[in-house]
């Protein structure tokens, strides 16, 4: 109990320090923090499904993009009805969650490598929809969101910070719940788990939807903070695959691993992009390759290897 109290105090003071940074720093730092907490939150949200189940959800970015598009489409009134911005913002995660719930029926019939590539199909699907439905989505140039005093990067940062804390809370609650236990058994051996009475589909669907809802929230905030939502902005490969790579890099299934992975990759990427005019995608690929070679269990597990024996769930048994 005392340990938890200390942890709580430490985390809240860290959050307070981070929240005060914008008062004495440059717009660049605020933008960086906005991206940092968007990705930390996304990595945690990704981990709620991907990390706990051991599934590789390459289509996670689709729910992020769906949230990003829902907010301006509803608040600007592209569908004919104009919704109050706050309601539109709250509708975004619901739309993403609904999409995740419905898509879980076809996609969660697949496992392992098949699930990974099939779910990636959502990214080109949404990309082409966003480009083709130009009356609603603004086509290739996207939708501009008018930046007022309530919109923009600074409130975006605070929302991202708050949403990250929300995602972390959900992560902890799911892990400690009965569902968390079921998820662990699914990750170890799905067939055996099913035989012992775990309704694996229903459990997976629940967390897939949860992770979709949170992705939609960060998506809406992403457009809100940057003021523009475009196919190349929210559905590019780097953003779509970032949460997956960050959690694997940090250590899948752990809160600290997701946070660490997201922070490290965002900062490495920022450093490289400031110093490299092109080959962004290739550099990103190289980072992924290095993760695959040196830290496939996550950096958080490197030291703990002898204590925490990694599961054999990674073995391909489809």
């Amino acid at each position: 109990m005392r340990k938890q109290l200390i942890l709580l105090v430490a985390v809240s003071s860290a959050v307070a320090v981070i929240a005060s940074i914008p008062f004495y720093s440059s717009p660049y730092i605020i933008t960086l923090l906005f991206f940092l907490f968007t990705f930390i939150g996304l990595a945690i949200s990704y981990d709620i499904f991907g990390g706990f189940t051991g599934y590789y959800n390459l289509g996670f970015g689709a729910f992020f993009a769906l949230g990003a598009y829902t907010f301006p489409i509803l608040s600007i009134g592209k569908l004919g009805l104009t919704v109050h911005p706050i309601l539109a913002f709250l509708a975004a995660p619901l739309v993403s969650g609904l999409a995740a719930f419905l898509l879980s029926y076809p996609l969660l019939r697949l496992r392992g490598a098949y699930f990974a590539v099939a779910s990636f199909g959502l990214i080109p699907l949404l990309y082409n929809l966003a480009r083709n439905l130009s009356t609603i989505t603004g086509g290739a140039s996207g939708i501009q969101i008018v930046v007022t005093e309530f919109f923009g990067i600074l409130p975006g940062f605070y929302i991202a910070l708050a949403a990250s804390i929300l995602a972390a809370t959900v992560h902890i609650l799911v892990r400690r719940s009965k569902i968390g236990l079921a998820l662990k058994s699914i990750r170890e051996d799905e067939d055996v788990a099913s035989e012992y009475g775990v309704n694996s589909f229903s459990v997976k669907r629940t967390v897939y939807t949860l992770s979709g809802i949170l992705a939609g929230l960060f998506g809406a905030n992403f457009g809100f903070g940057l003021g523009v939502v475009s196919p190349d902005g929210v559905l590019n490969l780097e953003i779509a695959l970032a949460p997956l790579i960050m959690t694997i890099f940090g250590g899948p299934g752990t809160l600290l691993g997701s946070v660490l992975g997201a922070a490290l990759i965002t900062l490495i990427q920022e450093f490289l992009w400031l110093n490299m005019p092109f080959f962004h995608l290739a550099i990103y690929g190289l980072i992924i390759l290095l993760v695959a070679i040196f830290a496939p269990q996550g950096v958080i597990n490197i030291r703990l290897k002898s204590v925490n024996t990694p599961s054999k769930s990674g073995r391909l048994n489809t």
């Binding site: 590789y56 390459l58 898509l103 029926y105 076809p106 996609l107 019939r109 697949l110 392992g112 490598a113 098949y114 990974a116 590539v117 099939a118 990636f120 199909g121 959502l122 080109p124 699907l125 082409n128 929809l129 480009r131 083709n132 490969l237 695959l241 790579i245 694997i248 899948p252 092109f278 080959f279 962004h280 995608l281 290739a282 990103y284 690929g285 190289l286 980072i287 992924i288 390759l289 993760v291 695959a292 070679i293 496939p296 269990q297 990694p310 599961s311 054999k312 990674g314 073995r315 391909l316 489809t318």
Partner: protein, 294 residues
């Protein structure tokens, strides 16, 4: 709508679908033998088209003369990929092979896509498109573009040749045995690790040559590599996992669906057909048309 319009759409669809089918055949073969889903499989398609385009520009030869070179070159490339990426990076891990396989092949795909985009940009080529101007052929009143006709013949020949290799040669028997049961195949004396290399080579050769023909009938960009992998996977799911006939039939279904969508709805909608079909198939018949095993 006239018969001739339908004929043109069907010809285009069959051609596109047959080529997709060959790509999917390679994907399902590689996965069946090595148990590693190569996310970069679609990039071999693009690399094939780039190889033929660049080779024909530099040598001044007709792309048709470059064609026979493509399968051996890509076979070697596939084997090299297996020997380096798969053995040195992926199989080095005893745990978490799936994660490493996805990450490693994905990173290869991203690096290849970015570098080839840069390379093409340096050569001021926006698209990979191999243009050949030949006199159209007239068969029974139907005007057929010669390039398409030759591609169609070549595609059928390739499908038959693949069928012959898989069904009637010793290599094909060992390949199928490995796909059915890896351990048992090893016990009866199949060199499983050699099969893995050869399957990657075979798959890359099929993907590479399909890429050349695809660049003759459409324009490609380097960033379509991942999308080809998704399309190929859709076809594999549609045709039934591990089924060779299913791969070709599934390819034809997707190709025709894309051709009709492109004509009636618009070319920019054709790209989403494959993913929509995949979702529908997974809801309606998850085991695929010819599917038995999971």
């Amino acid at each position: 709508m006239s018969l001739e319009t339908h004929f043109t759409i069907i010809l285009g669809g069959v051609l596109l679908g047959g080529l997709y089918g060959l790509v999917a055949l390679g994907l399902t073969m590689v996965f069946g033998v090595s148990r590693i889903l190569n996310v970069a499989h679609g990039d071999f398609v693009i690399l094939g088209s780039i190889f033929a385009l660049v080779a024909s520009i530099f040598s001044g030869l007709s792309p048709f003369l470059i064609l026979p070179v493509v399968p051996p070159v890509f076979f070697a490339l596939g084997v090299l990929f297996e020997r380096t990426m798969v053995r040195k990076v992926i199989m080095r891990n005893t745990q978490n092979i799936l994660a490493v396989a996805i990450l490693a092949t994905l990173s290869f795909s991203m690096i290849v896509e970015d570098l080839s985009f840069y390379g093409l940009g340096q050569a001021s080529l926006n698209y990979v498109n191999i243009q050949i101007f030949l006199q159209p052929i007239n068969i029974m009143g139907f005007i057929i573009p010669t390039t398409r006709f030759i591609s169609l013949i070549a595609m059928i020949a390739l499908a038959l040749a693949s069928r012959f290799i898989i069904q009637s040669t010793g290599f094909g028997r060992r390949l199928r045995a490995t796909m059915q049961d890896r351990e048992l195949a090893e016990i009866v004396g199949v060199n499983v690790s050699r099969m893995s290399s050869l399957s990657f080579g075979f798959g890359a050769a099929l993907a590479g040559i399909s890429g050349v023909f695809l660049a003759m009938i459409t324009s490609l960009t380097p960033f379509q590599g991942l999308q080809f992998t998704v399309t190929a996977l859709t076809i594999v799911i549609l045709g039934g996992l591990g089924s060779f006939v299913g791969a070709i039939v599934g390819g034809l279904v997707i190709g025709l669906a894309e051709a009709y969508t492109a004509f009636f709805v618009g070319t920019n909608w054709a790209r989403i057909v494959a993913v929509i079909v995949m979702i529908v198939v997974l809801v309606v018949r998850p085991s695929g048309i010819f599917g038995g095993r999971r």
